[in-house]
């Protein structure tokens, strides 16, 4: 029987969600709704008797203090309940589409089973949905439908219906829907003929395999090899099966294999006439420097092979870190995409070495302007997109019990094509587990292959190949899914207990590519694997065999366990209420063998995956900024610096983001030491966050991220250099040690493959990527920063319809987010950015130059400019000035010393927005004033105009406040280094800026600057 339970807050209680809906309707559309109430609905598709349902209604689903409820059929109906529907103008129902993860529905079934003491029968299920009742809402049906479509439902995962209030009440046209998945499909394996390369190419298109054309002959040749045919014949196989081709497609995708970064780039700098070839960006710019640094630094523990990098935390523990993006899914379904992204990156930490405990999550969002009103029609408007993304990470982090410590948000119209959602995570692991290094793992021959966590459904199929393509009309919507942090948290706790008992010989997560990736990669370590796919637990019947193998259903890990440890492993799994299933065994066969129902459906030599696939090749043509016509703007000096600074503080890219961080639990686990939001009002972003990752250790773990995509418009070399410099300064500013800073690079780039029609500037974009990587190499080598982890995400392009149905390709700005981690030796020595006491002296460390190109100031005035900030010493690829580089590092060592000796009362890097913006933040965080004299700045050229002094974004600078008694000692540290005493902290809460000739150019009340920054103007 199908029945629907309707649950509502008692009518006299305030409904915050309803109030929020009214607010958002006003905010998004400007329409007024008097009142909205939200009802929870639970559709039960069970064989339960009426009394049993009623028992569940009362005992589980209705809080006697605050709720009323009734079954749609009228059972439990009260006057209170029916009064709910009076005066309703519109009722909007929103429920999930079949097959979409409905955690609350499964929890309902679990609770009913617990209550009644009987397990659900086959096929019984509960489905949640919601009903929004709009009262006093003088809207047309079209308007109500707009609210449903644009605000409440995402049609990719949800269905909605709009009813007139009176129709809902009488039940006219209201049906009870159970979104059951019914796949009247018998799982099958089919064989694929291999007559010609063209045939395989055609098949690749039909099946969405996204096989690279150049790979096709290699794949065909493999299957036509006599030795291969002979061995396959033993298992009843001849031509490849669909399972095999799908597996190969996953393994060869750009997402898994990083074909772009491993490509060959023929680079030419047209203006300079310089030419060179970079064979494999990954090897030359990421791997080689990191391996060199690893050999020099004893604190680098494990890099470049595992799900995440590992570095030393203290004498007992190591930490791990990694980051990635989840752009394509978030662009389609913002909430589900970002949620799946954050819980996905957590699994990388859970699967590093033999497993790490999660201690922090981080986020970075790049989206189109929130108030975009132009002609292009992105799938989701940036405003809604951002709200959804923010909420996804909120639920993912909060419900997982992982503090979300730090984040970024950047608006730019180029992200209308595809948004960027960066996620990163940190973990902690004991150095040793039962005497063995915790970072090492290897499945042995004979170990069992176990899948733990969620079940497998159709979700996420072809997610990997979809993110390896640009977003367009043909992108399959099926790859979007909703993460389930609750299930994963249980698995996290379970796996740590299993790890500590020494039960895990190998572990890795099921992310992109599902089992095909996790088993494929671990089989390569073990020397072979045999999997019985019919053992894999499914959410519902009807999946094809290849779908089971590549499904990206979330919350799953693949673990290798010795047969002798199986019973104990399973007992722990049961204790933690986590499903674990033996699905196969590692073997020494050199092969990956997949069976389904006693029949072999795939038999692939592991060597096939390291076969000689043709390297991708790119032409990279660098056009210098001058050749592209970039110049400095012809701008006179502003006369109104106060209003200018106030305006800058209110711009979307510089204003307060407290509203995001406040929604994120950043204190769970009890180790929060330096919070992202600081200051007396606890809302100014600090340079970095510091956590006591191990509560009884005095060591602090600092983490920060940076991105500066507007610099890419001028030169991606300097973009990457500035980003790394900024992240390093952020770590130093909280008291981190320069010698123990690790990095994670996350590249997001538009497509770089030249095509005269589809990508006419592909060669230039390829050159941008080469230069970005060269900067990464140069900075990491010169500063000894190992890349503990990293990932690239290409194809940040979208095709957006315009006013007349024409489509526009919109490519995202070349973007690199850099995550820096660092050790603070004694957490009690860490520091925050806001000034502390009136009378303290204000120093500016570092040199300021004419570097407004790509700045927030130029952006405000509508310019790009030419003079992009350059990290001292790094003038471009192969143009290195060692002395300048060393001088900068001396300054950085000075900052480290000043902080560790407690000489700085505050320390803050100068970043986007320049001295003006950051001095204002130092003051408004303190609720104190600041008086600074621009003529005391150390500048490259004494004639530097005031606007440049205030807003130049030159790298390598810090603003430090110092107690007068410590001034002498502080200045001694920086003798011979650029260190200017600009002024002092004042009790009078005003920002006063004096220019060259003693002229006061700014006198603004901190409260008005704060108001602007908080968006109150």
């Amino acid at each position: 029987m199908i029945t629907r339970l309707e649950i509502a807050l008692k009518p006299h209680l305030f409904d915050p969600e309803g109030a929020g809906l009214c607010r958002r309707v006003g905010d998004y559309f400007g329409w007024r709704i008097g009142e909205a109430r939200v009802m929870d609905m639970l559709t039960l598709d069970t064989g339960l008797a009426q009394e049993e349902l009623e028992e569940a209604r009362v005992a589980i689903f209705t809080n006697p203090v605050t709720q009323v409820s009734a079954f749609a059929a009228g059972v439990g109906q009260t006057d209170l309940m029916s009064s709910y529907f009076s005066d309703v103008d519109w009722a909007i129902w929103v429920g999930y589409r079949p097959g979409v993860r409905d955690t609350a529905g499964s929890v309902a079934m679990e609770a009913i089973a617990d209550l009644l003491g009987k397990a659900p029968a086959e096929g019984e299920a509960a489905y949640t949905s919601r009903l929004y009742l709009l009262k006093n809402a003088p809207l047309s049906r079209t308007q109500a439908e707009t609210i449903a479509r644009e605000l409440l439902a995402n049609e990719i995962i949800q269905e909605w219906k709009v009813y007139k209030g009176s129709d809902w009440l009488t039940g006219a046209g209201v049906d009870i829907v159970a979104p059951r998945v019914l796949l009247a499909h018998k799982p099958s394996v089919c064989e694929v003929a291999l007559e010609s390369d063209g045939q395989l190419a055609e098949l690749s298109d039909q099946r969405n395999l996204a096989l690279n054309r150049k790979d096709i002959p290699v794949i065909r040749n493999y299957f036509l090899r006599p030795q291969v045919l002979k061995e396959r014949a033993k298992f009843g196989l001849s031509v490849p099966t669909d399972v095999e081709l799908e597996a190969i497609s996953q393994a060869r995708s750009d997402h898994c294999n990083h074909n772009t970064f491993r490509g060959k780039f023929r680079y030419v700098d047209i203006a300079a006439g310089e030419r060179f070839t970079v064979d494999n960006l990954f090897k030359s710019c990421i791997q080689a420097p990191t391996l060199k640094i690893r050999d020099e630094k004893d604190w680098v523990v494990s890099v470049l092979w595992d799900n995440a990098g590992v570095a030393r935390f203290d004498s007992r523990f190591n930490y791990s870190v990694t980051g990635e993006t989840h752009n394509s899914p978030s662009n389609m379904e913002a909430y589900g995409g970002s949620l799946t992204g954050i819980v996905g990156i957590y699994r990388d930490i859970m699967g590093v070495g033999k497993g790490a405990r999660l201690v922090a999550g981080l986020y970075g969002y790049c989206v189109g302007p929130r108030d975009y009103r132009g002609p292009l029609k992105p799938h989701l408007h940036p405003k809604r997109l951002l709200d959804g993304i923010v909420a996804g990470v909120k639920d993912g982090g909060n419900k997982h019990g992982v503090p979300t410590e730090f984040g970024n948000l950047f608006f730019d119209p180029s992200y209308l094509g595809k948004c960027l959602v960066f996620v990163a995570a940190l973990g902690i692991m004991p150095k040793e587990i039962e005497g063995q290094p915790s970072e090492l793992k290897c499945p042995a021959q004979g170990d069992l292959i176990i899948m733990s966590g969620g079940r497998v459904g159709k979700d996420g199929i072809h997610g990997v190949t979809a993110s390896s393509e640009s977003y367009g009309a043909s992108t399959p919507a099926g790859h979007v899914q909703i993460g389930d942090p609750y299930t994963q948290k249980k698995m996290h706790d379970f796996l740590l207990e299993a790890r500590d008992e020494g039960l895990i010989t190998h572990i890795t997560d099921n992310g992109g590519g599902g089992l095909s990736s996790s088993v494929g990669e671990s089989a390569a370590l073990a020397g072979g694997a045999h999997v019985e796919l019919d053992k894999v637990p499914l959410k519902y019947e009807g999946l094809d065999v290849w779908e089971i193998w590549i499904s990206e259903s979330q919350e799953r890990m693949t673990i290798a366990v010795k047969p002798d440890d199986l019973d104990r492993f399973m007992a722990l799994s049961r204790k933690h209420d986590v499903e674990s299933t033996v699905i196969g065994r590692y073997e020494n066969s050199g092969k990956l063998r997949l069976d389904y129902g006693q029949r072999t459906c795939a038999l692939l030599d592991l060597s096939l995956f390291s076969e000689d696939f043709p390297q991708w090749e790119f032409d990279a043509q660098w056009l210098s900024p001058e050749m592209r016509g970039l110049t400095e703007p012809v701008l006179g000096q502003p006369k109104e610096f106060g209003p200018l600074l106030t305006s800058l503080l209110s711009t979307p890219n510089l204003c307060s983001r407290e509203w995001i961080q406040r929604q994120y639990d950043h204190e769970v686990q009890g180790g929060s030491a330096v919070k992202f939001l600081t200051g007396r009002d606890r809302d100014v972003p600090n340079d970095a966050a510091v956590i006591r990752a191990v509560l009884d250790s005095t060591t602090g773990l600092a983490v920060a991220q940076a991105l500066l995509p507007t610099y890419s418009v001028i030169d991606t070399y300097h973009m990457v250099a500035a980003v790394i410099d900024e992240s390093v300064r952020r770590i130093l500013a909280v008291g981190g040690k320069l010698d123990e800073i690790g990095g994670v690079d996350n590249f997001c780039w538009p497509s770089i493959q030249y095509d005269p029609v589809q990508n006419p500037d592909g060669r230039y974009k390829a050159a941008q990527l080469v230069r970005a990587n060269l900067a990464l190499r140069d900075l990491c080598l010169a500063w000894s920063i190992p890349l503990l982890s990293g990932k690239d995400s290409m194809y940040v392009d979208g095709a957006l319809p315009g006013d007349f149905g024409e489509s526009h390709k919109v490519s995202g700005l070349p973007t690199m987010l850099f995550t820096a981690t660092g050790i603070v030796e004694n957490v009690l020595k860490s520091q925050t950015m806001e000034a502390k006491c009136a009378g303290d002296l204000v120093y500016l460390l570092g040199c300021t130059a004419d570097e407004l190109g790509g700045s927030a100031y130029y952006d405000l005035l509508g310019y790009t400019g030419l003079n992009v900030p350059k990290v001292p010493g790094f003038n471009g690829p192969n143009v290195f000035d060692k002395d300048k580089c060393e001088a900068l590092l001396d300054l950085y060592r000075g900052v480290e010393k000043a902080l560790s000796s407690g000489l700085a009362a505050s320390c803050h890097g100068i970043y986007r927005g320049g001295l003006g913006v950051h001095a204002a933040l130092v003051a408004l965080g303190a609720r104190l004033g600041l008086t600074i004299d621009l003529s005391k700045m150390i500048v490259q050229d004494e004639n530097l105009p005031d606007a440049h002094r205030l807003f130049s974004e030159s790298c390598g600078r810090f603003l430090v406040t110092v107690r007068p008694e410590y001034a002498e000692e502080f200045e001694k540290i920086f003798a011979g280094l650029p260190c200017g005493l600009l002024g002092e902290v004042t009790q009078n809460p005003q920002l006063v800026i004096i220019a060259g000739s003693g002229r006061e150019i700014v006198r603004e009340n901190i409260s008005s600057l704060r108001g602007a920054w908080m968006g109150e103007i």
């Binding site: 809080n63 617990d114 209550l115 019990g401 249980k490 009890g670 006491c837």
Partner: protein, 267 residues
């Protein structure tokens, strides 16, 4: 040494820092999975303090703490009842508080009777918030957690923390001194419902209540998250201030005091 049990499992998540705080407060602590209690591998009888801490049990689906409360009710009600009757201390923090009110162990007007009379529902502000709050202790309350305390700050981190009960129940709570903790403004006067000092719209600024015995207590703020001086959002400022005033820099956080009260209750 006083033995404390910190419950884990099914999405609870503050167990590590809660255990740490209890250890600092002088307890001998064990983290125990709910299923180990249900299946009898561990018994509450071996402990004097029982903590259900923060987290998202069952993902908060169907109401925060509801499903956990139901499981406790059906599997452990008698054992929990006996634990309280024998003089044990039960502490529910955040999700644990939500569990205790849905279980009906709070408000517990009559010893031994579990009845749902109060609720913790969606914040008036419309969503999850992580912020620090000023709290003032009702010195007239007999709650064992707050004895000797007057005011302190702690973080709240929840989406469903609005304390609600009908007026008669509230009057009863007041009359019996069962409201031990209230949200206050920075001057330590009552928040009077004003956001963000009262972060969720709780009736009467209620942040924590205890039962008739004073040994069962629940609160939304997280004392275990103020286990160290560096947890406080202003600590770098306070360090600067104290050092200029030549005052010592503390290392312990105020949250430890509540746990120490629980431990000392048995000493």
């Amino acid at each position: 040494m006083v033995k404390a049990l910190v419950m884990t499992g099914f999405g609870l998540n503050c167990d590590l820092e809660t255990s740490y705080a209890l250890r600092v407060a002088g307890a001998q602590v064990e983290r125990v999975h709910l299923n180990s209690l249900i299946e009898g591998r561990k018994s509450l009888d071996a402990f004097r303090i029982f903590v259900i801490g923060g987290g998202f049990s069952w993902g908060d689906d169907h109401g925060a703490g509801v499903i956990m409360a139901m499981r406790l009710k059906h599997r452990l009600q008698d054992r929990i009842g006996a634990f309280v009757a024998q003089g044990g201390v039960v502490i529910g923090i955040c999700n644990g508080f939500q569990v205790l009110v849905n279980l009906g162990l709070l408000p517990g007007f009559e010893p031994g009777v579990m009845k749902r009379e109060v609720a913790l529902i969606a914040n008036d502000c419309g969503g999850f918030r992580d912020q620090w709050v000023n709290l003032s202790v009702n010195t007239a309350s007999h709650c064992v957690l707050s004895s000797g305390l007057d005011r302190f700050e702690l973080p709240v981190r929840h989406g469903e923390g609005k304390f609600f009960a009908e007026p008669a129940v509230i009057e009863n709570l007041k009359a019996r001194g069962q409201i031990f903790l209230r949200y206050a403004n920075p001057q330590s006067t009552p928040a009077l419902g004003e956001f963000p000092h009262n972060p969720n719209g709780s009736v009467e600024d209620i942040a924590g209540i205890c039962d008739a015995t004073g040994r069962v207590a629940g609160l939304m703020p997280h004392p275990e998250a103020f286990n160290h001086f560096t947890n406080h959002p202003d600590w770098t400022y306070l360090r600067e201030k104290y050092s200029r005033e030549q005052k010592p820099i503390p290392e312990e956080g105020d949250g430890i005091k509540l746990f120490r009260n629980a431990v000392n209750y048995f000493n």
